[in-house]
């Protein structure tokens, strides 16, 4: 008996030791078969995911090679200490997909959603399987911290329930402002900020003078449009860092062009990963559709990306780009240099903008404290994220020995709070209770705003 147990243990350990590039394709292959996808197609899909992984990690080291030494030079020259490299959400999702908990988290999230639908606790049918990684990431952090797999799954489940509920909550507003009939947006990275936006908007509405301010999205897009293109952000940031590092002309331009390249190529690599996930995603869609054929009174849960074209959201995201860079340099205790996630600020702010009824000035005011929180949290979480990355086979020397993190998704306050609560931090438990009470109060205070149909009746 003991021999069998030992054999099983050895097998699991061996499997985990394979690293993400080998393990994830195997997981995807098995998942695809479970959703009745033909073996030939499942194999192709699994291999594509593996290729995407190789691509992401390659660009990733390229970035570390360039930013690492520049960050060191900046430290010695200016005393600014920003050693943690911001990879952005994309590699973070890749790392999470490669973690042990991911396949279980996908199945768990599906079950959680089905149970909630069956008991009419939600209207959202979450078919957005890519963003299940957000829930899995919460679980992966807890699993790493506690070593307990079931606590990790519990954390995943809690994250899924909360986000699906918030998606229901903000659906009337996103449908109204973003032209998305019958759709809700259960994406953790933006949904978390919806209650904060509502509360902030409620407070700002009470401040005389401030509550009159407005800004024109078209004007902002013209002035700040350059921050809309990832390659331009990369280039400008490269020049800025090169200057701070005291590089010569050649050094500055080399860094700028490399960073522009990273920002331009990275999404294409992640895209390959996504391509490979399409068959599984379609399988989930069919699976959900079959169980809930009468989808008329349901919301279909999609990626927040579909909302980001709203002019006010884009304009706010553009304004927040230079603000974030400035904050990184002046916020005490921040150790992260925002790079890759700078092009995702529109995603971050989208639900705040919606909660402010598309008022850009208010959205920017509310976003700033949130961004400061994100910076501090992603700096604090960087050792943990680096550790998670090493367990899926990331070579730590790639970023010149620096810790890695992700400005927005590594700095997400909701996930970090879950992680702290599960790590047994008493203060975090108290904060969690306070937050829950505040969210409930916000719901009551802003009931009319989020229930337009109730007002009409």
């Amino acid at each position: 008996m003991e021999g069998i147990y030992k054999g099983l243990y050895d097998f699991v350990q061996y499997f985990l030791g394979l690293g993400a590039i080998v393990m994830l394709p195997i997981v995807i292959f098995v998942l695809a078969l479970c959703f009745r996808i033909k073996p030939s197609k499942a194999f192709r899909s699994a291999l594509t995911v593996g290729i995407g992984f190789v691509g992401v990690f390659t660009i990733f080291s390229l970035m570390g090679d360039q930013v690492g030494p520049a960050a060191k030079a900046i430290v010695t020259r200016t005393g600014l200490n920003l050693p943690d490299v911001d990879l952005g959400w994309a590699p973070l999702s890749a790392i999470t997909w490669g973690s042990v908990i991911a396949p279980f988290a996908i199945v768990l999230t599906l079950i959680v959603n089905l149970v909630m639908l069956a008991f009419k606790w939600t209207k959202t049918v979450d078919i957005d399987i890519w963003n299940y990684w957000h829930f899995a990431f919460a679980g992966a952090l807890v699993y790493i911290a506690t070593g307990n797999f079931f606590l990790g799954l519990l954390a995943t489940g809690i994250a899924a329930v909360v986000i699906i509920k918030i998606a229901d909550w903000c659906a009337p507003l996103t449908q109204k402002y973003c032209n998305l009939p019958g759709i809700s947006l259960p994406t953790l990275s933006s949904a978390v900020f919806f209650p904060i936006g509502l509360l902030g908007n409620w407070i700002l509405d009470k401040i005389p003078g401030l509550n009159k301010l407005q800004a024109d999205p078209v004007h902002i897009q013209k002035r700040f449009g350059i921050f809309g293109e990832p390659m331009m952000i990369g280039f400008i940031l490269g020049v800025l860092l090169g200057l701070l590092a005291g590089y010569d002309f050649k050094g500055i331009l080399t860094l700028a062009i490399y960073l522009a390249a990273v920002m331009y190529i990275l999404p294409r690599m992640v895209r390959i990963l996504m391509d490979g996930l399409i068959p599984v995603s379609d399988g989930v869609k069919d699976f959900m559709a079959k169980r809930f054929p009468d989808r008329k009174d349901f919301y279909i849960g999609l990626d927040i990306a579909v909302a980001v074209g709203n002019p006010a959201i884009i304009a706010t995201g553009l304004l927040l780009t230079p603000i974030s860079i400035l904050l990184a340099f002046i916020v005490p205790g921040n150790e992260t240099l925002p790079v890759a996630d700078l092009s995702n600020l529109a995603v971050f702010c989208s639900m705040i903008v919606v909660a402010c009824n598309q008022n850009i000035v208010r959205a920017v005011i509310i976003s700033i404290p949130c961004l400061i929180g994100d910076l501090l949290i992603c700096s604090a979480a960087s050792p943990l994220i680096t550790q998670l990355a090493t367990t899926v086979g990331y070579d730590i020397s790639a970023a010149g020995g620096s810790n890695i993190t992700a400005f927005l998704d590594g700095g997400n306050p909701f996930r970090y709070l879950i992680y702290q609560v599960f790590s047994g931090n008493v203060v975090a438990v108290v904060i969690a209770v306070v937050v829950a009470v505040l969210v409930f109060l916000t719901y009551k205070l802003t009931y009319k705003q989020t229930h337009p149909e109730a007002v009409e009746n």
């Binding site: 921050f227 999404p267 990626d303 579909v306 074209g309």
Partner: protein
């Protein structure tokens, strides 16, 4: 011989939802024997390159003025009304 038509697929980051739509649209157009080129970007890049394309398929609003017709790819994501959208795309390219 007419020039190859160019389609731009757009979403918030140019990564996730536009990939799904691009895959579906490209498979459909190939099955219909239509010759085309495709590229994929984030919505913020549309002002600088949008006018190089004959058609834009977006999963989000395009808050800019562009010469090319813009078609919403949302129905392809949700599956409701996807066939009509594919037909519309084909009609535009056939012009």
């Amino acid at each position: 011989m007419s020039k190859k038509k160019r389609i731009l697929f757009v979403c918030a980051t140019g990564i996730a939802t536009s990939t799904v739509v691009e895959e579906k649209v490209c498979n459909y157009l190939r099955s219909q024997g239509i010759d085309f080129e495709a590229d994929q970007r984030n919505v913020g890049s549309v002002p600088s390159i949008g006018n190089d394309f004959d058609l834009i398929v977006a999963t989000t609003q395009i808050p800019y003025e562009v010469n090319a017709p813009v078609i919403s790819g949302l129905s392809i994501l949700t599956g409701l009304g996807a066939d009509e959208t594919l037909q519309k795309i084909k009609d535009i390219l056939a012009k």
